[in-house]
Symmetry: C2
Subunit: 337 residues, 2 copies
């Protein structure tokens, strides 16, 4: 293994000079710099991460906590994770992958050991038990998702409240008066996951303002669960003509069931989805949707974090504005006889 000292000897300079060439923290003459750089190349030198971390107390690693549960909104999580990893690399950081399994302990471990310089947390609950720890440490962090109290925290998220409002407005404008919301699994609401509750809040508030009737039903996803949920909805509100779906694994079952029941989309019922773009465009009906900008969220989270690590930037809540794209699944409400 090649060390800094060997590079220094090869280039005929001192170790500190090589270090300064690498870090750029002091000015180095062009000739020296070139000589050193050539030695580095020739010897195939890679700085040792551990030594670097020890000496500088910076690991150049960002910890990313992803949810352990693999049963919900998985593609979005994966997309965010990949965007985070790629974004971090462009700033010279690597990503340490932590699953939710360890819970708050992971935060302690990472903070205490200096394994990572900063953290990004996903799957944030409204009253997340990791938050006090984050507030209590000096380690920079960014949440993807919005807890109830954002005091002293930096968060990045889609504005789910506005998302909900947008969906309702779209349907209202088309003349729908009875709207059903097919949400995430009940467990998601029970955990008080921010995005789910906020969307619902946005939907309800706007529906009230526009004097629409709104029925919300959580749904596990999958064909069977959707069948039960849908039956209940039409049972309770036979006049339902508008659907808002926020559950990837319920989308296709819903469409199949409506088709099966002879309800045409968008002639008889309209469907608006909150989901990643690919789900909306690859569904059996091209869906009018508000897309969840997973990549953008991942990228922004990294940017915020890097800014903090560089001493720029401060606590801030970044809410991305939702955009509704009209496709083939929504149209004017049918005229009542």
């Amino acid at each position: 293994m090649v060390t800094l000292a060997e590079v220094a000897k090869h280039a005929g300079v001192s170790a500190s000079t090589v270090s300064y060439v690498l870090s750029g923290k002091r000015s180095i003459s062009t000739t020296t710099r070139q000589r050193v750089e050539e030695s580095i190349r020739k010897l195939g030198y890679h700085p040792n991460a551990g030594a670097r971390a020890l000496a500088s107390s910076r690991s150049n690693i960002i910890a990313l906590m992803i949810p352990l549960r693999t049963d919900m909104y998985v593609p979005v999580m994966m997309e965010i994770a990949i965007a985070v990893a790629a974004g971090a690399r462009t700033h010279g950081y690597d990503i340490l992958l932590l699953t939710g399994e360890e819970g708050p302990d992971a935060v302690r471990r990472v903070t205490g050991s200096g394994l990572a310089d900063a953290m990004i947390l996903m799957d944030v609950e409204l009253d997340d038990e990791r938050l006090p720890l984050l507030r209590g440490t000096h380690q920079p962090s960014v949440l993807i998702g919005l807890p109830a109290d954002t005091e002293g925290l930096t968060c990045v998220d889609l504005d789910f409240r506005a998302t909900g409002a947008l969906c309702v407005e779209h349907l209202a404008r088309l003349g729908h008066r009875d709207i059903a919301v097919i949400g995430e699994a009940a467990a998601v609401y029970e955990r008080h996951t921010g995005f789910a509750e906020r969307t619902l809040d946005g939907l309800r508030t706007r529906a009230r303002e526009l004097e629409l009737r709104l029925l919300h039903r959580p749904c596990e996803g999958g064909y069977d669960a959707m069948a039960v949920t849908l039956a209940r909805i039409f049972d309770e509100r036979p006049g339902t003509t508008g659907f808002v779906v926020q559950n990837e694994s319920a989308v296709e079952p819903l469409l199949a069931l409506l088709r099966q029941q002879g309800r045409a989309v968008p002639e008889d019922v309209s469907v608006v989805a909150v989901c990643p773009e690919e789900v909306a465009t690859q569904a059996s009906v091209r869906l009018t949707s508000v897309s969840v900008p997973a990549q953008e969220m991942g990228r922004r989270a990294v940017e915020q974090l890097v800014a903090k690590l560089d001493g720029r930037g401060s606590d801030e809540v970044v809410l991305l504005a939702p955009e509704l794209t009209v496709r083939a699944s929504s149209g004017p409400a049918p005229v009542r006889p």
Copy 2:
């Protein structure tokens, strides 16, 4: 920040003793051990990862290279990644997440810098350009997936050849003679991704042995692409009664299209899928399937790797035996008039 030295002073022992308590590499009397452990608890001591890595040249980190492409078989990848992360933790390792983006350079960087002690590679191509690097280094590694030449490598994968054979056999036993295979996107085959090609090979070989007609068509997934693909298939082989699908995002579209065309599943056509269990059970028809044991693969990969790191275990190819679960999507071939 609490250091080893402070713990030592607090416990009234030397630093090395504390270190040996932590690592267990030398015997320590019970009384001393307890005293040290209490000091550790009281002071809230966490060993510094950088210092540890430097002194021991072990980082206790495993690098995991996941594919950058987010457009294919995503849930499986995510599930493997999470299983790997969880499994690694139980052995005291953390996971460094690398995206395919950097390509072979990532291998060099990680190996050279001592960032990680070992690597797990996903999304392995038959003739992967990272393999020479792995063979050339002394760093332990495990592939999830099977390249063409496994010499000197440790691999974990589902036996996709057997998987293909199993699907064909199942359909043959039910009397189907004309089988269509709906595969992954063409790009996956062009990259010579091991699992796709091996499945196909298994399908073809067994079909030949059983004298069945087999038609393979790659498919991008999504409703539109599936519609085109399906039309072509029935155009070319109108007598097709058996389908094998290896593409999560083509499953639901296929079922919807068949339904739409008035072809009943399983009365008129049978469908066998190669996909994760949840996809098979949540589809609009409960699918006969060979499930991809993502978690098992992740867990096994970690086990192999840890064995290597501990000096046990050797190069080995672990092929998990496929299991076909019969559900509602396959039945006897229709009797020809």
